[in-house]
């Protein structure tokens, strides 16, 4: 599991995750992800290279989204693969973690 900062400025941070976001994946990137989501800036999380997402990974994303929500900021999930998106929809948490496949729209939602 890898976490990469694609872009970061005063307004938002754009992260990309890659690999399996399972127990081992969450252990690898969880601390760094929590640091980014705790920074109080809007967050775009590119999931296009995440091949597997389980409940522990959803918990990691959701805790980040809740932390941002408490600060008046937002998290947007970008380009999840179809089965990962199905899992996110089933989890019923997209109100706080909206999903888009368009990068411009992701920025618009994050900055909105």
């Amino acid at each position: 599991m890898e976490l990469t900062v694609v872009q970061s400025d005063d307004a938002f941070t754009h992260l990309a995750l890659a690999g399996r976001l399972d127990v081992a994946g969450e252990q690898t990137v969880g601390t760094a992800f929590a640091a980014h989501s705790g920074a109080g800036k809007a967050l775009i999380v590119d999931l296009s290279q995440v091949s597997f997402l389980a409940s522990l990974g959803i918990r990691m994303l959701f805790q980040g989204a809740k932390a941002l929500f408490a600060e008046g900021s937002k998290m947007v999930l970008l380009k999840p693969q179809p089965l990962v998106e199905e899992i996110l929809q089933t989890a019923g948490l997209t109100e706080l973690m909206p999903i888009t496949h368009d990068e411009k729209e992701a920025r618009s939602i994050a900055m909105g």
């Binding site: 399972d22 081992a24 389980a54 409940s55 408490a70 089933t90 948490l93």
Partner: protein, 154 residues
């Protein structure tokens, strides 16, 4: 992988793992090799991975009080048509996955917790989920059907 029976056939895989998170990664590699060989469709592969991750994690976390003692958990996978039937047997505390409560999706989103989410996810992805308590063991039978059109098998 401790306790591996080594019994691997083209359409059946039997493994035994210890109640140790480090075993999960090794199990995952063996299972995915098996799924690859059988050319199952992506949704079946995802469902098997999800079920094993969520159920084994639950067993590791909540199944045992005696942390110092090793326990063996048996995992059986069998290709059936274009899907998979699985059985997971553990000697942990009785836990009926079938009757586990659904997560509360009505709580305001900012107050929501994600307890019970794993079981909710596998209930939605799998086709069957049957629990039995037999000889002081939890026996969980699961299955996920595949779409023959997207699979190499059958």
């Amino acid at each position: 992988m401790g306790g591996d029976t080594g019994f691997t056939m083209a359409r059946v895989l039997d493994l035994a793992i210890k109640n140790d998170f480090d075993e999960l990664g090794r199990l995952c590699i063996r299972v995915n090799d098996f799924l690859d060989v059988n050319q199952l469709c992506p949704r079946v592969v995802y469902g098997v991975n999800l079920a094993l991750e969520e159920i084994l994690t639950n067993i590791f976390k909540y199944g045992y009080d005696d942390e110092a003692r090793e326990h063996e958990i048996a995992v059986h996978l069998e290709v059936q048509d274009s899907g998979i039937a699985m059985t997971i047997v553990d000697d942990g505390h009785q836990f009926d996955v079938e009757s586990a409560p659904e997560p509360d999706l009505t709580t305001p989103i900012s107050e929501r917790t994600v307890g019970g989410l794993g079981i909710h996810l596998i209930r939605n992805m799998l086709n069957t989920l049957n629990y039995h308590r037999i000889d002081d063991k939890n026996v969980l039978e699961l299955s996920i059907k595949g779409d023959a059109a997207c699979c190499g098998a059958d």
